[in-house]
Structure formats: C-alpha cells, structure tokens
C-alpha cells in the first residue's frame, strides 16, 4: 500500500526578554541553580504574577510576521498538574483565547518551489523549572532558574507531508524568530524545541490516522530522524495488522528511535481555567500598528528582493536570506563592493567554507563584512587577481592586517598591469625556455593554445602571482606567435 505521512509541529520558542514573563527575575542562561528565581518564580504563598509587556510585544511581532490574526483580547489560563519543578502546581498558559490566531509560513522545498504551512495559533506561556537527577545521591534537586521563562508555543496545522518539510518549517520558524530578534534560537540551550505529531494514512484517504506525539525534539536533524523512525514504525505496525495508539513518545538520539512515554489513558486532566490573578490582555489597533512599524524586512521578503533587485539565483537568495546575520553580512559586503553576484560568491564560498571549518557562526567571523567588501572591490577594480585575493582573505582571517589594502601592500600582492614590466618578464621567460619555444613553434596551430599554459605559469611565477593573467596571456601569445 502507498502511505502518506501527516505531520504537525508544536514549536516552543523561548522569548529573548530580559526578565521572566510574570516576574522581574533575570532570564540569562547558565547561572547558578536557583540564583535567578524570585518569590514569584518559587510560587511562594501570597505572591502574584505581573505580565511582562515585552513578552506580549514579541508574541505580537511574531503574529504580524506570519500574517496572523492578533487577538484583541487574549486570556491566560492555568494548566493544573503536580510536578516538583512546577512551583505553583500550575503552568500559566493560554488555552482558550491565545494571543496569536491563524497565520501561515512559506517554506522553501528542495525543488526550488515553496509551500504554505498554516499556523493554527501561537500562545504565550511560562516555562517550568528543571529537575536535576545527578549529584544528589539518589535524591532529586530542583533548579527553578528556568521557571517563568517566557515561551511562545507555535502550533501548526497538520500540513507537512514528510520529514524534510517538517525540518524546513522548523527552519522557517527559526529564521523568522531570529530575524525578529524575539529569540536567540539557540537550540542547544533549549531556546527552541518542538513536539512533533506524526500519523500515517493510506494515500488518498481523507481521514487522519492515529497520531503519536514525540516530545521535546531539539534539533533540525533530530526532527528529521525522529519522524523517519516514527513513520516506519507506524507503517510496519499497521501492515503487520496492529494499530497505532495515541500516545506521547520520546526520541532517543543515541539509539535513533522513539520510545513510548505515556498513553492517552495515562494523560493528565489539566483542569484549565482562566487565571484569576491576571487580567485579559487587550490590544488596540494603535499598538499593533506601532509594532508593525518596528518589524524588520523578513526572510521571505528578503529572498524575493535578493532575486528581483539584485539578480541573485533562487538558491543564492534563499541561502543568503536564511539567517538575519548572514543576510546582514552579505548586504554589507554588497554595499561596499557594489557587485551582488561577487558578494554572494565570496560569502557563500570562501567565507562560509572557512567558518564551517572552524565551526564559527557568521556573527563571530574574524573577517568583517566591511573587510570582505573591500577585498572583493579590489578584485573587481583589478588591483589584485583571484589568486592573490585568496591570500588576502587568509591574511584577514588570521588578523595579519586591518584591511585588504593593508595586506595587499604588506605582501606586495598588487597586480602588475604595467605592460612594459610584463613584457620584460615574458622576454626573460622566452629567453630561458628555448626548448619549450621550439616545441611551441613546431606544434600544430590548434595545440599551441594548450602549450601556452607553461609560459603563463612561468611568467606568473616570476611575478610572484601579481601579474594580470589576462594581460600575460595576450602578450605571450603575441610574442610567441611573432617567433613562428
């Protein structure tokens, strides 16, 4: 039988607010356990939550970026359950009236087409703390630094049909939230994680199959792998005459498999109800307009502009617009050198290669966009040739000079374009290579083109790479042909 996979994602994005969603405690990552948890985060008796306006603004910005309806009135609800790292015995979330309503995101597929993934809604909620099971001699420690960290949970419609689409969607969300500056998107630190809902159905069937939810997957790669495993598991199960049960599963990246965590029967009854300590959030048009005016150009718009206005290929445009850092870097290189294609080539080629080799992000690049822009400009204005340019880049990378010009000067890489100087070098090479000259003259005319390479190499060597290769080529041909 032909199977179709249906995937929906719930993405949890940690918002980059300075303080927590309902208290003034800091949200900075990596502090000593419980050093960033105030009385509110500890759920002490008598304390009350006060909503962080920054979290609301960030959620609204996301909503605007995905063309969603923003709720005029949204309400915080309590989700009640007991867990040691849930200090109040409930998590404050938005169940019935979320702040962001239906919207959509466009994802780029491998075949250069795009697909729209609908967003069901996105809501604000607080994170819980963390249970620490090691180092306590059979006991459990509780770290409440995370408790109260603002999260935006973005729930998609089940619009994805394979693992690649799911990963592309996750990347699109990542790209949007980092563009907006509402999250650092650091998946390793848990700033973004997702729950994946997966089901399969016979191709052509309308009704959804029974789904399994895979909890807390925290990398693009794991999303693909978890889905791949889960799809195979479900298909095998059904084909063997079994039935998929609705359950929550965990992905184990070590063993590359998903495992059952709890079934529907074991699920909690969360007893949601509106939090009586918080007032409904009421937003007016002026506020939305104000936030809309603060939105940066978003990845989809940037991609479009890179293609239309700068003439980049769809592939280049999509790579260069994927992250805000990358896009800003590229645009600065372009601004300095004035040639989009060359800027794109250098950013995606030499720079990205070097960054990958040393596992650096573009934000931490040792070569600044201004430096690279100047370097490209020097190629474009024939100050240096391509070979020298690579050497200049290495110099900049290793901090051997403050600018491309400084390194060109320092290393004497300036391209020689003085015809007289080049002619002198050519004459010398011809004089030093009688055998090769004889061969050249004896060769069939159509083979001479290839043989000229030897002479070019010698001249370039004599110029220590600084001679203009086109000039060398032209003059050599003239001089050799004159010897025929």
């Amino acid at each position: 039988m032909q199977w179709e996979t249906v995937i929906g994602l719930e993405v949890h994005v940690q918002l980059a607010t300075h303080s927590k969603i309902f208290s003034g405690a800091s949200t900075a990552f990596g502090a000593e356990p419980n050093s960033q948890a105030c009385a509110v985060d500890l759920g002490m008796p008598g304390v009350l939550p006060v909503l962080n306006e920054q979290a609301v603004a960030m959620a609204v910005k996301f909503g605007l970026a995905v063309h969603a309806d923003i709720a005029e009135v949204s309400v915080f609800d309590r989700k009640n359950y007991f867990y040691p790292d849930l200090p109040k015995g409930y998590q404050t979330s938005q169940m019935y009236h979320p702040i962001v309503g239906p919207g959509e995101v466009e994802i780029a597929l491998d075949d250069d087409t795009t697909k729209r993934i609908r967003i069901h809604h996105a809501h604000l909620e607080e994170d819980a703390g963390k249970s620490l099971h090691e180092d306590f001699h059979g006991m459990t420690g509780i770290d409440l630094n995370r408790a109260g960290t603002p999260l935006l949970e973005i729930v998609s419609e089940p619009d994805m049909r394979n693992a690649k689409e799911a990963a592309a969607y996750l990347k699109a969300i990542h790209s949007i939230v980092t563009y907006l500056g509402i999250s650092d998107g650091n998946m390793a630190e848990g700033s973004m994680r997702c729950d994946v809902n997966v089901s399969v159905r016979p191709k052509g069937q309308e009704a959804f199959g029974t789904r399994a939810e895979i909890k807390n997957v925290n990398s693009f790669r794991f999303v693909e792998r978890a889905i791949a495993f889960e799809v195979e598991r479900q298909i095998e199960l059904i084909e063997d005459g079994g039935k998929v049960v609705q359950e929550t599963r965990l992905f184990d990246p070590e063993r590359d498999e998903t495992r059952s965590m709890r079934t529907k029967e074991e699920a909690n009854d969360y007893r949601y109800f509106p939090c009586p300590d918080l007032l409904p959030v009421v937003l007016d048009q002026a506020y939305l307009d104000h936030l809309r005016s603060q939105l940066p150009e978003l990845p989809a718009e940037k991609r479009e502009r890179f293609q239309q206005a700068l003439g980049l290929s769809a592939y280049d445009a999509s790579v260069l617009s994927a992250s805000r850092d990358m896009a800003e870097y590229f645009e600065e290189v372009h601004r300095v050198c004035g040639d989009a294609k060359q800027a794109a080539n250098w950013v995606q080629g030499e720079l990205s290669g070097a960054l990958n080799r040393e596992n650096l992000s573009i934000a931490n690049s040792p070569v600044t966009a201004a430096q690279l822009g100047e370097l490209v400009q020097r190629v474009l204005d024939d100050t240096i040739n391509g070979k020298a340019a690579k050497e200049v880049f290495q110099g900049l990378w290793h901090g051997e000079g403050a600018s491309a010009d400084a390194i060109i000067e320092e290393k004497g890489l300036k391209q020689v374009t003085d015809t007289g100087a080049i002619e002198a070098m050519i004459d010398q090479v011809i004089a030093d290579s009688p055998a090769q000259v004889a061969q050249y003259c004896d060769a069939e005319p159509e083979k001479r083109g290839k043989m000229i390479g030897y002479f070019v190499g010698q001249v370039m060597k004599a110029s220590r790479g600084t001679a203009n290769p086109q000039q060398v080529n032209g003059l050599l041909k003239e001089k050799l042909d004159a010897l025929l």
Partner: protein, 491 residues
Amino acid sequence: MHDKTLTQLANALGSGELSSRELTEHYLQRIQHSGAILNSFITVTADQALEQADAADQARAKGTANLLTGVPLALKDIFCTQGIKTSCGSRMLDNFNAPYDAAVVEKLKAAGTVTLGKTNMDEFAMGSSNESSYYGPVKNPWDLTAVPGGSSGGSAAAVAAGLTPAALGTDTGGSIRQPAAFCGITGLKPTYGRVSRYGIIAYASSLDQAGPMARSAEDCAHLLNAMAGHDGRDSTSVARGVPDYTETLNAPLSGLKIGLPKEYFGEGLDPEVEKAVREAVNVFESLGATVRDVSLPHTHYAIPAYYVIAPAEASSNLSRFDGVRFGHRCDNPSDLIDLYKRSRAEGFGDEVQRRILIGTHTLSEGFFDAYYTKAQKVRRLIRQDFLDAFEDVDVLMGPASPTPAFDLGAKKDPVSMYLQDIYTIAVNLAGIPGISVPAGFVGSRPTERRPIGLQILGTHFAEAQLLNVAHQFQQTTDWHLQRPDFAEESA
C-alpha cells in the same frame, strides 16, 4: 484605654497624652491575660511590637509622625509578614516564615503602626465559624459558647474584646462582615481591586479582598486611607486615586436613597435580626433618607455559584502546598506521589480538603462547562442585579447574616454552614464594597448577648459613601460602643 476607639487613641497619641509604648504594653498585657480564653491570636509579636512602639514614639518626638503612627493593630494570619510565622490557620504552614511583607503590611508599617500579632482564622480562610483553624476555634467574647464568625474571627474577637484597637481581615464570601456582625464591631470589605492582594495567601483570587475591622466606621476610614491604592505587584489592583475617606464622614444623609433587597428579608432570617435591621433603617429615615424595596433576582444563585468558583480557584491556588519547597512535608516519603499525598493529607484539614476536591471536580474535563462556565455566567447576572439596583438607590441595606452568632460546634453539616454567608457572598461575586455595623443584640443576659450586624452595600468604589452612611448611623446610635463584659473583666 481599651474602651477608646482607634481614632480616639490616635488623637491621644497625637496630643502626647499617651505614648505608643504605654498603649502597646497595655494591649500586650490584655492579650496575655485573655489570649488563652479567646484563642484569638496564633502569634503574638511582643518584642517587635515594643520596638515599633518605641520607634513610633521617637518619630512623634521628632515631628515626623502621622495620624496612625504608634497605633497598635493585629493582622489576620493570612497576611505575609517578613520573618514572622504566617500560618493561614493551617498545619501546612505551621513552619512558614514568609521572606516578605504583604503590600498592606508594608503600607501600615510605613504609616508607623505597631503590629501586636497575627490573629486566628479558619484554615486558608475557608469557614464561617473559625472552627476549621488548625489552632483551634476562637470564642466569641460576648458569649464564650458562641463562635466569633469566620474566617476573620480571630481579628473580630480581638477587637471586640479590646485586645487590639483594630485588626485587618480578608473577605472572600463575607469573612470580614459576618465576624464583624457576630462580634459587634465594624468591618469593611472594600471594592475588589481597591486594596492590593500582594502577600495575602490566596484562597479564591477573584473574590479575596482585605479590609479593616475596628470599632467604628471612622476607625475603618483611617485604616482604609492607609491600606488602599494601586500596587504594581497585583495585576488586579485598580489604578485609581484614593480619596481621604475621613473627609466625607460627616456629609448629611438627607436625600440618601436606601434600597432594601426583598431577597435579604425572606425565609431563614431570624426575626430578631430582622427587627434590629428594620429599626436601623428607621434611624436612617429619621436622618433624612428615603427607603424603598428593591429586588436582586439572582440572589439565590449566589451560594451555588460561589461554591463552584471559590473552590475551583482554591484547588488551584493551594496546589503549591505540595511538600516540595516550603510548609509541611510528611516523614519518609516512599516516592514522589507518596510525598504529595501524605504531605497534603496531613497538612490540610477537612474543610480545605473538601473544597479542594469540589474544585478539582468542577474544573475537570467534562464538568467544566456545566459548573465553572455556568457559575461565571451566574456571576455576571448577580453583578448586573446590583448595578441595576444602584441605578435607583444609593445604597442597599440588609442583615449581614441571617442569624446572630451560633454555638460552637452547632453546625456539623457543611451546607448549613455555607448558608451563613447567604447575604454576604453575592457582594464578593459582584466585586462591590460592603460594610457591617453593629445594630443591636439578641438575648439580654449579660454574658449571653449576641450582636447583630447591619450590612450596607454600595456600588464599585463607593467606600467613602458607605463609611459616611455608617458613621452617621454611629453618631446617632451607640451599638458600636457597647462592650462585652468579657472585655471589662479581663485584665
């Protein structure tokens, strides 16, 4: 000294006739002598009180004092106090010292008041008789066989017995007004949002409101001046200016339109209570007010709606008492679930467990709409009843409670206990203010007199008007100045 009202004491302090130390020592002594009999205090903070009294006397010498500086007060044990036990009347918090003061406590401290101690209360403010306290029931100083009312019964009894000039209470379904009525004192429940809830251990967040309990409306006005106001730490606190509540106390009542809700004079109302209330209304007529009958048609839904909403919120608010971070933890738990179960079973008393279970049930899947959603709709209707009534009249009057204080141990059935709050609960659901003032007695033998409370209700933020109306009544009558024999005998 203890026969004086807070206002009189404040004036005596101001004139130098009295020092705060003298006053504080006097009340501490009275608490020491009568405390064990009444059981109205859970914690007495003598050392701190004397320090505060000395500081107040110094401030007065330096000329930096204000009216309340040096006045002793007691706090219901639901207000968090830094470094001093805040038990909420529960074993669960028998070992709990909050690391902060409630907003109201901060404000009163800033005004220079002296805290004598923390008063007894129904566990987590759940009760109408003070019998659900882990620290045992409080006795009514008018008649030691009677309850003082709940849940601010410790505060009410302490004021009535002259163990403190005034005290703070909280009112979720009548817990300031009903004990004030039972103990013959004046108690004001302000508009929801008028006084910050920050640092008050929550029972039902959408209903809880702190207020003053004292011997006169004038006393309450002085206290409300210090308590009221916006607090950025409580999202439900209303950003609205605070008038000086003492300024309008003497406004004449001529032209005042009083409504008598017919639903507050029906079945179950003790005839002697009704008589006292009607006589009080006559007093107002003699002061120039006009009276008319009004109807609050959804009144009989108030108790069922309350007993859905309050337990629902309570079941959630009390989840944090799980034995993990603070409060009572059972010995040697075998695993996490055992820790939760035994800590909560041991820490919470019967009434608290009952309401947690009711709340957990009404919020659970499949019942939520039938109970909670429905109750919220009823709540809106009840609120609208009041708003409609206040289109026609300025204030509503009726009994604070259908009966005077009942005997300790008399109400074994929880539902009959719940019916005690039949005239007070709708006020909390609507969020409007209400005051109870002494208006007579049932019984005549000296140690068996039980006070009757007149309840006066106003629209949102009408505290100044309620205090004015109550004060004018107290200028004409002396019910509020009468004292139980117990107060005279003790100390």
